[in-house]
């Protein structure tokens, strides 16, 4: 079962989390790939509950 996951990566449409440089999100979007940008460097991440609450508002 576990081994199937890697294989699925090659067979499925990509859905990507991008942590860091936005240039890579833009490249993915230009290729019509589903992508969510994550920025862990901003202050709210210091408090996980606050970060989650902020993300629910977005």
């Amino acid at each position: 079962m576990a081994k199937k996951k890697g294989a699925n990566l090659l067979e499925s449409d990509l859905a990507v989390l991008n942590l860091g440089l936005e240039i890579f999100r833009q490249a993915l979007e230009s290729q019509k790939v589903s992508c969510v940008q994550v920025d862990l460097s901003q202050a709210p991440v210091l408090d996980k509950r606050l970060a989650d609450a902020l993300d629910r508002l977005l």
Partner: protein, 530 residues
């Protein structure tokens, strides 16, 4: 004109944000020239070269943001700098066509993007372990672009991923292609049946674009990061990726590329593929000689050019003639072209200067130079005796990897930002001993939108001074920048183009190496380019 430096202590912006801030500040009224950068040695040197370094900038630390501006005559410096500061100090925003939603935790991002199966991680390397492990625990494969991840952490991530049937591509993985989607610095190449596993980012770019030009395509290209083939990591992910491609029905041929691998690790990887795979294999271990015994389904290549030729032979169906027509050239043609270039150079011009953005391509050039004209100096040399004392100052025959850490600390990679390379081209062109400058112009997602045009001015200045500029464009017609368009711009600026980096390197070596180098190439043609 007045030069003003402002320093904001302990303020970080990433390299892409800094490059874009620089462009925006240059557009402000009253600004003649400007650079916004982190206060690293490389960046202070850049400001010095541009005549933009002032007292405050000299005192900036790596963790400080430097704003250096030359104010046009007739403008009030204080007013101009107030506008500059306002622009630079505004919160960073997305520079895409529309404002992106930015989430602040992996948990909420996974809630938002159902079925997430991959993450690209490009945070600073020292901060990459925790989020990468969290992603793996949630069943998400990781493409780890970040450098400087401690090898112990790399091993933990890869062992965990391997136990769960997941991939960790990287750290330091510049390029992958999955399901036709380019990740990191990757090119737009056709889909096909060649599966690539590489510990060499621009190695993937070079072979995938050449395969594209001969009508072959890629089922997947998986970058595992340079340290995967270190003795500590032992090729762990390289073997997992090869297993994955063996199971992949679309993949009919395997290609393995490694830059400076450890011989013991490669022996282990090859033992693994012999016992765990059944498909034809092209193996290119740059810097390692192939084994003396022949193997039925394994072809060894000494260069990326040669690897693609061997893939064309394995593939059949007209790929080999297309390789000969679209990429290759004959020994005689290459010699004749080099003689013509040499005939136009002054007698004092005797050295080559490679100014590379791709580390694997720089390495390939060093290997070819060693075969034909002797070892060249470099910031990433083949042996310690040829290490440049100062990477900013070339010596004799020299190949500089401008994508190396010594140049990219606190600034964007040269594939994204051509500023450092333009300055270095100008610097080399002032040296009367230089015969030719070699450039790799790497296209694709993530790279500079107009590399040919942005380097054109510096190239034209150099050719007017009497030296040759030789280049290879690594890209495809469907890349965002267009292979044809960039080739046209480079040619118009006086650049002489070659269809592979190996041909560029061999051709350049013949320009300065004369008959002796020609004789060596004749004897090594099959080994290097066959």
């Amino acid at each position: 004109m007045q030069v003003v430096n402002l320093v904001q202590r302990n303020l970080f912006r990433d390299s892409i944000q800094l490059m874009r801030l620089t462009e925006d500040v240059k557009k402000l009224e009253g600004v003649d020239d400007a650079v916004v950068s982190m206060g690293t040695d490389t960046n202070r040197r850049l400001l010095q070269d541009l005549g933009l370094l002032g007292g405050e900038g000299r005192a900036a630390a790596d963790t400080d943001l430097m704003i250096a501006v030359r104010v046009r005559d007739g403008f009030d410096g204080a007013v101009v700098m107030k506008n500059v500061e306002k622009l630079v100090m505004a919160p960073p925003v997305s520079s895409g066509g529309r404002r992106a939603v930015v989430l602040h935790s992996i948990g909420s991002a996974l809630d938002r993007l159902h079925g997430a199966n991959l993450a690209i991680v490009s945070v600073p390397g020292r901060q990459a372990f925790d989020p990468s492990m969290e992603l793996l625990r949630n069943g998400v494969n990781v493409h780890l672009f970040s450098d400087h991840v401690p090898v112990e952490q790399e091993l933990k991530l890869k062992r965990y991923a391997s136990s769960k049937g997941l991939l960790v591509m990287g750290p330091g993985a510049g390029t992958s292609i999955i399901n036709g989607v380019g990740l990191g610095f990757a090119n737009s190449v056709r889909k096909g049946d060649v599966g690539i596993v590489a510990s060499a980012g621009t190695g993937i770019q070079e072979v995938s674009t050449m395969l594209d030009r001969i009508g072959l395509g890629v089922s997947a290209a998986l970058g595992v990061g340079g340290t995967d083939v270190s003795e500590q990591v032992g090729g762990l992910m390289m073997k997992d990726c090869l297993d994955l491609l063996e199971r992949d029905e679309r993949t009919r041929m395997l290609m393995i590329i490694a830059k400076t691998p450890k011989e013991k690790v490669i022996r282990n990887v090859m033992d693994h593929v012999r016992s765990h795979t059944s498909k034809p294999i092209v193996a290119c271990f740059l810097g390692l000689d192939p084994p003396s015994t022949k193997e039925d389904r394994v072809a060894y290549a000494m260069t990326l050019h040669s690897a693609v030729r061997k893939a064309a032979i394995f593939s059949g169906g007209g790929a080999e003639p297309r390789f000969e027509k679209n990429i290759s050239t004959s020994f005689e043609e290459l010699v004749a072209r080099s003689k013509e270039i040499a005939s136009k150079l002054g007698p004092s011009r005797k050295y080559l200067r490679g100014l590379y953005s791709g580390g694997t391509l720089a390495h390939e050039t060093l290997l070819i130079f060693r075969e034909l004209i002797g070892e060249a100096y470099s910031n990433t040399p083949l042996s310690g005796a040829y290490a440049l004392a100062d990477p900013n100052t070339s010596k004799e025959n020299c190949v500089v990897d401008l994508g190396d850490e010594s140049f990219t600390s606190g600034r964007a990679h040269p594939m994204i930002d051509p500023t450092l390379r333009k300055l270095r081209i100008s610097q080399e062109s002032r040296d009367p001993d230089v015969a030719a400058i070699l450039l790799d112009v790497v296209l694709g997602y993530g790279s500079s939108p107009e590399p040919g045009g942005s380097l054109g001015g510096a190239i034209a200045d150099s050719t007017h001074k009497g030296l040759a500029v030789l280049a290879h464009v690594c890209g495809t017609e469907t890349d965002p920048q267009s292979f044809r368009e960039q080739s046209r711009e480079l040619t118009e600026s006086g650049t002489l183009l070659y269809s592979s980096n190996a041909l560029l390197s061999a051709g350049a070596a013949l320009v300065v190496g004369g008959e002796e180098a020609s004789e060596r190439l004749k004897n090594r043609w099959e080994y290097l380019l066959g």
